[in-house]
Point group: C2
DNA sequence: AATATAAATGAATGTTCATTCATTTAAAAA
DNA sequence: TTTTTAAATGAATGAACATTCATTTATATT
């Protein structure tokens, strides 16, 4: 052992099992969606993921850290999917529709992730989370909106009004369908034509 | 004691203290808004309301029963306020605006009630609640929408699309302002003129 | 004032909770 | 194969949980 031993120390280590962490994360989201934050206990989660309770603490500092990591992950996944194929140079109508489609695809594909996300955002946990929207997303949207205004496709308005007009109806429709789903036990996907119909009406309110 | 003694039994009873129940209900909603469903324990609630834990069980069967009663109460209050001054014979624009104003008034006046309501609706607890919208509300809205369609002020569309277009932006704007509030610690009320501006844009999407 | 009743209580109960810890296991490097 | 390391564990810990119960308290009626 010399003074540099901590740098050149050989690394005889066992790797973390990523499949195991994935399982813990997925089961946690599923439990929260089905039983609420109340319903998530570390012991029940351990049992559901087939690991020891202590194992969870190898991957996460504590319960709160686990929840924050889950939220962080979904936030990143969601905004990444929302921007798939997007460019700030698209016409306003094309760009907004693309994001509606992308968001709906994510929600249909990962309903547990999305419902966990909504539950987290509507709870006080959100106040203790320091997760920020990824910068890429912010910058893209800012340029997109500036271009649309420059081209006269969109009139200037306060940002919160824009977001409320452009996405309020979308998320409301999604909520209707997710409620239906949990009530009927079956998943009725939002039909693309219904979505497009509503989109065209929303456009009228923004232009 | 005769066979009718249970009917004519004298009633030497001490009355429930309504002020006490009110306090329990209010503190419960406040705790849930501030700390989530996780943060509501019967012992902490008892302490906050200055009663014994056992007292809560005089008014509510158990924790779940308490939460359901709270939700039920807010649902009723909210839909009652929403209909204040409403008539199905109002013009579509007048009737919808009246409801926006009424709803915003309720949210501004009872933010804890509203935020509890939102948190409950976005949690799985909603699946175990058998609370229904009051019939009066349903009937009124149905006639209102039928009249508006008859007069040509509103085109026929699927109910969930109507609700999403007519209220999605409203609730989205409310959410923006409530988030701001909890982040800044101060309450910035939505200005009526901002609300009216957005309302006029929303109307364009529905007609 | 006396009485009967349910409201109200504080302490207690058994359970479940998040988290820790001494130990074992597996795997990467030598 | 041996060595070293961190992953993984099951059992344990003390705190907090929902709920109950034997008493006491307040009050509407007599």
């Amino acid at each position: 052992m010399n003074e540099h031993s901590f740098i050149f120390a050989p690394c005889f280590m066992r790797n973390k099992d990523e499949h195991k962490e994935r399982l813990i994360r997925d089961k946690a989201m599923e439990m929260i969606v089905k039983e609420g934050f109340d319903g998530l206990s570390m012991q029940k989660l351990a049992k559901a993921a087939n690991v020891s309770p202590a194992t969870i603490y190898i991957y996460f500092i504590n319960r709160e850290d686990l929840l924050n990591h889950l939220y962080n992950e979904v936030q990143n996944n969601f905004s990444e999917v929302a921007l798939k194929g997007f460019s700030p140079n698209l016409s306003f109508k094309e760009g907004l529709w693309l994001q509606w489609e992308n968001r709906l695809r994510f929600i249909n594909e990962f309903p547990y992730q999305y419902q966990f996300y909504e539950q987290f955002r509507n709870s006080p946990l959100i106040n203790h989370s320091d997760v920020q929207l990824i910068m890429d997303f912010k910058v893209n949207m800012k340029h997109f909106l500036m271009n649309a205004i420059k081209r006269g496709e969109l009139k200037k308005m306060e940002p919160e009004i824009f977001w409320s007009l452009a996405y309020g109806p979308f998320y409301s429709l999604v909520k209707f369908h997710l409620q239906e789903k949990t009530m009927m036990g079956r998943h009725f996907k939002i039909s693309p034509s219904k979505l497009k119909t509503m989109f065209n009406q929303v456009i009228k309110s923004i232009q």
